[in-house]
Symmetry: C4
Subunit: 250 residues, 4 copies
């Protein structure tokens, strides 16, 4: 395999699809949001993306089967249109891989008639736990900015650079004439920040005009809160907590 490939169900006829992208990254916000949304709206897999730029791993499933590391597309169609979700095990570690995979994602989505993409990520706001995370955004155009602003997304308050898919898919979308935004939950020193994911899901409910039951994410949030409490207690203790507890996923 020398280049990125997408295997997909060619019979699919999506209606003005909107794509939500949630891949591994800071605070696992993207992954949490995409996985949760997929389960809540009961979206079905219709495409799988493999890339020679992903790590060379095969995942062992409890069923005794395996699957190659991948990114996966899901879809749920209703009268209002189709919601597509992209989630997955990994992002390519190299620049060359990122440029190839992210352009391929945008090209594929455009070929399905898609016009709008929202990528989900975490925005790192220092090392303190964020109790009331804001949701930040950057966008390709003023119309998208305006739509998201009305739904509480904060623009112009972020600086620096976005690593990987969450930013690059927005950039490629613009090159391909699509509208896109990166929606970022404010997060801090947590591997899995359900609180930030919850804040993003609240925003997505309004933006997509759909109902999402946030009870389950509340359970994850409760668990995360408990974990944070422990960390905070540890920080007060004599010995400093182990560094690994504060590692970011990228």
């Amino acid at each position: 395999m020398n280049s990125t490939r997408i295997y997909y169900n060619k019979k699919l006829k999506p209606k003005e699809p909107i794509l939500i992208v949630g891949l591994p990254g800071i605070g696992s916000v993207g992954s949490l949001v995409a996985e949760y949304l997929k389960n809540e709206i009961n979206a079905k897999r219709f495409a799988t993306l493999y890339s020679p730029h992903f790590i060379h791993q095969t995942i062992m499933l409890k069923s005794g089967y395996t699957r190659l590391i991948s990114n996966r597309f899901y879809v749920k169609s209703s009268k209002k249109g189709s919601i597509m979700i992209l989630l997955g095990d990994t992002q390519a570690p190299s620049p060359e891989g990122q440029y190839e995979v992210n352009e391929e994602i945008v090209r594929f989505f455009k070929s399905l008639g898609g016009k709008t993409i929202y990528t989900i990520g975490g925005y790192s706001a220092g090392s303190h736990y964020i109790h009331n995370p804001r949701v930040f955004g950057v966008a390709t155009d003023s119309k998208t900015k305006s739509t998201l602003s009305k739904n509480g997304i904060v623009f112009g308050q972020t600086s620096g650079a976005i690593w990987g898919s969450a930013g690059m898919i927005v950039s490629f979308a613009k090159m391909y004439g699509l509208s896109a935004a990166c929606i970022m939950g404010e997060t801090s020193a947590l591997e899995i920040d359900a609180n930030a994911a919850r804040a993003v899901l609240e925003s997505l409910k309004k933006i997509l005009g759909i109902n999402i039951n946030l009870e389950n994410i509340d359970k994850i949030k409760t668990e995360t809160d408990r974990m944070i409490k422990e960390l905070e207690d540890a920080q007060k203790a004599a010995e400093p907590p182990r560094k690994e507890n504060f590692t970011y996923i990228r």
Copy 2:
């Protein structure tokens, strides 16, 4: 050389070949099994795979000649069919190399009429020496799983990911419509774990329905056991044993 190449004897007419893959990896289980099997059934080399993704080394032979780092295919045909064995000096260190080489192996084997592949590896079970190693499996399909289960291979007890060829060849086999499984000997902190290899060979005897004399592997096993005894004694001593003794090969 810009891509992986296989030089082979085009006159070869294999009969419903089964491929056993044993490349360098955890506990050297794959290498040990493939090398041993090749010698015991007296299989002959018929193909050599070179790749620009392998390290840039040439091996100096005692004869005063050299050979480029490679993977090599062997075959032994009988009335029951052809057994092919793939072994070699190395695996590609990069993702891109792994994707190219492993797909090429599957494509080549399919072009020879092959339908079934068993890759051999080690499954790391912690840092304690395993006296009675189990043999674990993951497979592409229920029929292969069922065949292997009947021969004592344990399914559903492994988790995590397989690095490199042992897993990826199974994944590519599935993409190409072949049946495959990864058969893993339970192993631990050993560079060369003949005990795990022996357990896999016992399973292969049954699966392939062939006779393999395990006397020689017993000699390797005896030697390995002696080495382990020494390590265990060292661990009891005041000074900790040297780290290098516990390095895994990948």
Copy 3:
């Protein structure tokens, strides 16, 4: 995206353009010179270069928009001819990326009718601050050397190698039959050395025969001088200054 791409305004009709290249590097001399010159002569962007060999980052702008990491071409045409400027966020980190991007820059410039290129860099002269930086040069041919020598550029006093674009663009220019030189401001242990940049700008004024108001760079220089004073004071103090203060940008 699998190779470097330049998007540009195809209606542009430059007149015997001269290209000034100032990309990130030692002392940020190239970046400072290119950015300053662009603003002073009021050059306008006409082309953008993207490469899959650049890091996989998207920059968040204060406006709430984003842009993909890039190199950018600007132009200012007058009766005397067109001055083009290339500046940007990054250089490719890998050899393969550098060879691709730098040849592409030369090919593109030649396709616009260009014949002369000056790349700007810093020449590291040890760890002491340089109060009166010299401007060094290396060139493709004797005529270019002679032109620059007359304007105070010092030849034959540098040794070693130039990393990245500042040197490679000169090499590729020669292969493509163009004239080129690398003009280097003498610099030392500073991330942003406005003093070295000022010296190069003084030279460029003469070489290009244009007027450049150096008042603003003087402000940057004043600020830089203040920073250096602080560093020097720190060095005299008991505790050694932090290593990071002395990091070179490449």
Copy 4:
């Protein structure tokens, strides 16, 4: 530049050329031999090899000009035939680069009618200085082995692997139906081991049937011996010598 390129004088009509390859490596033996031989037989440059897999450096010459990192071919023709020499600034750091460059060298030499290649390297014999270095060999075929053995080259005494061009060019030569050998001077902890180079040059005199004045290498050897004496004295002193003095070039 996306692949390795050789620019050469197409009018050249070599006579049954023999190629001597001496690129940077252990003890700089290959570089020393190739550079010395080139000067002694007064060979002239006829080809230059550039590669996007070489490091991205441009060398500043004392003349005020520059040249891109390269490998260079020289030739000297006489009634007895043509001797070609390949030397250069670097070897490609990546596997992919090594496979591409080394195959290209062999393909190019074959296209010029060449049939025999000798690569020169150092064979590391531990950390003690070798006073009377042996010259080891590995070859593609028995005829080459026999020719070299008659001239004092020792076969069958080396083991392990050769990194880079010295080994890979021999391997590719075999694939392309040419005869080749790697000739290695026994060396130890020295960056530049003129003593090992001298031993190889003594062998080459006999193999090529030419006269080489070894007086100049004797000067280098004298200098090297002096340097070694200093190192040995340092080792006897209380403080251990700095590690960098013992670094190998590869």
